[in-house]
Amino acid sequence: MFDALQSRSIGFNSHIAIKKGNHKEINFYDEELNKADDEKKDGELASTSLNAFDIISFSSGLNLSGLFDDSYNSVDDGERFVSTESPENLMKKVEEFAKEERLRVKRRKELGLEMEGQNGNLMISVEVYRLTDTLFVVEAKRSGGDAGCFKETWKNKLKPVIMAT
């Protein structure tokens, strides 16, 4: 055992053996961690609007994920903006986009959805929140997958679609 230690074989060049039946089910998607929270949030926000603290909570300075997730970049990983367009219209646009780009819609909520494509490299979640009687906040986030894929797709394809009036 100590021979193995001394040659520091804990690494890629060591013997990696795969024993059948000796694996644990691993969930690769953040969704399972956030799902319960989101479902709760959904119930409230569907009927109520965002309050000042909801908006304040959007701050990247309050999101400590950056400490743990090296790829997480508040600027590149998501965006929020205010829209006067009805959420139903917005969601329709997003659904059409998903169809055209052949993205699989993984989760659908009243005012939001999560889609996936490019073999799991692209994962985008879009959500709409009511702000006032006439204003809504649209939030688009990378919900997993490759950071580069998200950035490219969001900037060049999805964002223009959503913002077009």
Binding site: S14, I18, K19, K24, E44, E79, D146
Partner: protein, 284 residues
């Protein structure tokens, strides 16, 4: 591991023993040690003094040491428990403890109240909320007219300020948060649930180098065996699927899934002769 504290106390001022920290927080000893890995990298990123400065905190959070942000400032101030202008390891662990999924609602409510009470008066005043709202709008792409801001403030205070004194006290905050639980979402970090998964480098790290004796090395191996990261097979020390899964998760969390696919293919090809089953299907 007896050698841990003596070496460390020299390099890290104000450092507290991981066993003590573990007993007073929701973290296990090995989780505290994983946090120490993170702490080491953050605290040495600008000045290697074993302490986290504001700049280093900004660098870790935003990948930009010069980025100033009202809310990051507040978090930093709250982590800087002893008001020394720097965060030491025990501050770091005890503060992150509040964000642990198992921490009580009470401590999260308390932390968030103090967070938003910018001038520490014991009340969250309307002016403070306005200041925070405007700060948020500046950092995002969201644009709102002044009157919309006032409408939002009005509505928030209508909901939260029960005694109508223009400010939110601690008990009003508690009631408000109970009715709007999503407000505490920022107070929980899912990453802390299984912190050793977040740092695959901790799995592969040769802490072995730092051991003075074989007994401590054996202890590490046994600990890893307990966590099912290595397996003893035919007199060899091997990585388990779980360790591989942690590695995979590491790639995923770093947003490098396209590299990961290539890596898995390489491993599969290399071990095609050795393996009795396909790596990919097991990892799936």
């Amino acid at each position: 591991m007896g050698c841990f504290s003596s070496k460390v106390a020299r390099q890290f001022p104000g450092h507290e023993d991981p066993v003590a920290l573990a007993s007073q927080t929701a973290f296990s000893v090995s989780e505290v040690e994983a946090l120490f890995e993170l702490y080491k990298s953050i605290s040495s990123s600008v000045v290697d003094d074993g302490l986290i400065s504001k700049e280093e905190f900004q660098l870790a959070l935003f990948k930009n040491r010069k980025k100033e942000n009202l809310f990051a400032d507040r978090i930093f101030d709250m982590f800087d428990v002893k008001h020394k202008g720097v965060i030491d390891f025990s501050d770091f662990v005890r503060s992150l403890n509040v964000f642990h999924p198992n921490a009580s609602q009470e401590v999260k409510i308390d932390f968030s109240f103090k967070l938003y009470d910018l001038d520490n008066t014991g009340f969250i005043e309307r002016q403070e909320v306005k200041q925070m709202l405007i700060a948020l709008l500046c950092e995002s792409e969201m644009k709102l007219a002044d009157e919309t801001v006032e409408i939002i403030l009005d509505k928030t205070f209508l909901d939260a300020d029960v005694d109508k004194d223009g400010k939110i006290d601690k008990s009003e905050w508690e009631t408000f948060v109970c009715r709007n639980p999503s407000l505490l979402k920022i107070m929980t970090l899912p990453y802390l649930r299984d912190i050793s998964t977040t740092f695959p480098s901790f799995v592969f790290n040769s802490e072995v180098d730092e051991f003075d004796d074989i007994d401590s090395a054996a202890e590490l191996i046994l600990d890893m065996h307990k966590q099912e990261l290595v397996i003893f097979w035919s007199g060899k020390l091997l990585l388990s699927n779980r360790a591989l899964a942690k590695l995979v998760n590491g790639y995923r969390r770093h947003g490098r899934t396209s590299e990961l696919s290539k890596l898995l293919l390489c491993i599969q090809q290399d071990f095609h002769a050795l393996s009795q089953s396909s790596l990919c299907s097991d990892v799936d």
